[in-house]
């Protein structure tokens, strides 16, 4: 396997591990900015309704398997978008 392919495969495996660990053990999020803003009375107001708020499928909140599938699917989507944009940039060289 070439060096690039090995890094590519390693990256995918590490990303999948991150998603699983993130969903199973490190999912609780209380970001500093949200805490600070809430403390000072600022409130969130959506101008766009996200299809998967807080990385969960509506109706399946707290479902570990669903959360892992969402995490993996969107990690792969991120990979595809980054590769496509990277190729576009290269094509114009």
């Amino acid at each position: 396997m070439s060096g690039s392919k090995r890094i590519f495969m390693l990256g995918i495996i590490v990303s999948i591990i991150f998603v699983i660990v993130g969903c199973m053990w490190l999912s609780y999020s209380a970001e500093t900015l949200d805490e600070v803003a809430e403390h000072f009375g600022a409130s969130e107001s959506f101008v766009w309704t996200p299809p998967l708020p807080d990385y969960e499928i509506p109706g399946l909140e707290g479902n570990l398997a669903a959360n892992i599938i969402v995490g993996m699917a969107f990690t792969l989507l991120t990979l595809a978008v980054a590769l496509a944009i990277g190729k576009t940039l290269k094509a114009k060289t």
């Binding site: 890094i7 590519f8 990303s15 993130g22 970001e31 998967l52 991120t78 990277g86 290269k90």
Partner: protein
């Protein structure tokens, strides 16, 4: 550090969108010149990896949590231009699909995490390499750069909140201080992880460390790490 909709005044949103747009144009133009064919799979892999890494929240002080941003690693491996593009992709998917960060505040979030969080570590790492001309220069620069990048990104987020007097009725000093205290701890975490990853790459794949290769001409000559696995 993802600022949601409603936290910033529209004027602050407009200014940060404009500033970010200038960097986007610049980054796309420069990335076309410096991004090599073999970096494209790496760009895809790292973008996906840091999207996944941002799903892992670890506890810090005061009952709050933090996650890795990844800007310093993106800057050192891909260069700051492709690094900014990678971070933009991550933030766009997070905002659009998950509501993690707002749409009106997207420019501010890219400014904080994609520009400050990528370009500051890059510049600091370059300057450190210039001063400490061996592999320790890159490691020291990676730590200081990652820490400073995280801290400054938080300071900018605090400034944006503090300047949003219509939505956030507190002074800049309160907002900046609150953000900076917490993010100095997050910055240490980012610095440690960045050094760990860079030291592994220095030993195994030094050819992936692009930083000296994409340095601007005004930096002068920089020591380029060996392309031969096994170290410089």
């Amino acid at each position: 550090m993802h600022i949601p909709d409603g936290f910033l005044d529209l004027s602050i949103c407009a200014v940060t969108y404009l500033a970010t747009l200038i960097f986007w144009v610049f980054a796309f133009r420069r990335a076309r010149q410096v991004l090599s064919e073999r970096q494209i799979p790496l760009m895809g892999t790292l973008t996906a990896m840091f999207f996944a890494a941002q799903m892992m929240n670890y506890p810090i002080i005061g009952g709050t949590t933090a996650h890795l941003l990844g800007g310093p690693i993106l800057a050192i491996t891909l260069g700051p231009y492709a690094g900014l593009i990678s971070m933009t992709i991550i933030l766009l998917i997070q905002a659009f699909f998950f509501g993690d960060g707002g749409i009106t505040t997207f420019g501010a979030n890219v400014w904080n995490m994609g520009i400050i969080g990528v370009f500051i570590p890059y510049i600091i790492c370059l300057l450190t390499i210039k001063m400490v001309k061996d592999k320790n220069g890159m490691l020291i620069g990676a730590f200081i750069g990652a820490f400073t990048g995280d801290l400054l990104a938080a300071v900018f987020a605090g400034l944006e909140l503090g300047l949003s007097t219509l939505t956030f009725p507190y002074s800049i000093s309160i907002a900046v201080t609150a953000m900076a205290i917490h993010h100095s701890f997050i910055g240490i975490g980012e610095g440690i992880v960045t050094v760990l990853i860079i030291s592994v790459l220095l030993k195994t794949r030094p050819d992936l460390l692009q930083l000296p290769k994409v340095a601007p001409k005004w930096m002068g000559e920089l020591p380029i790490v060996s392309t031969k696995p096994g170290g410089p």
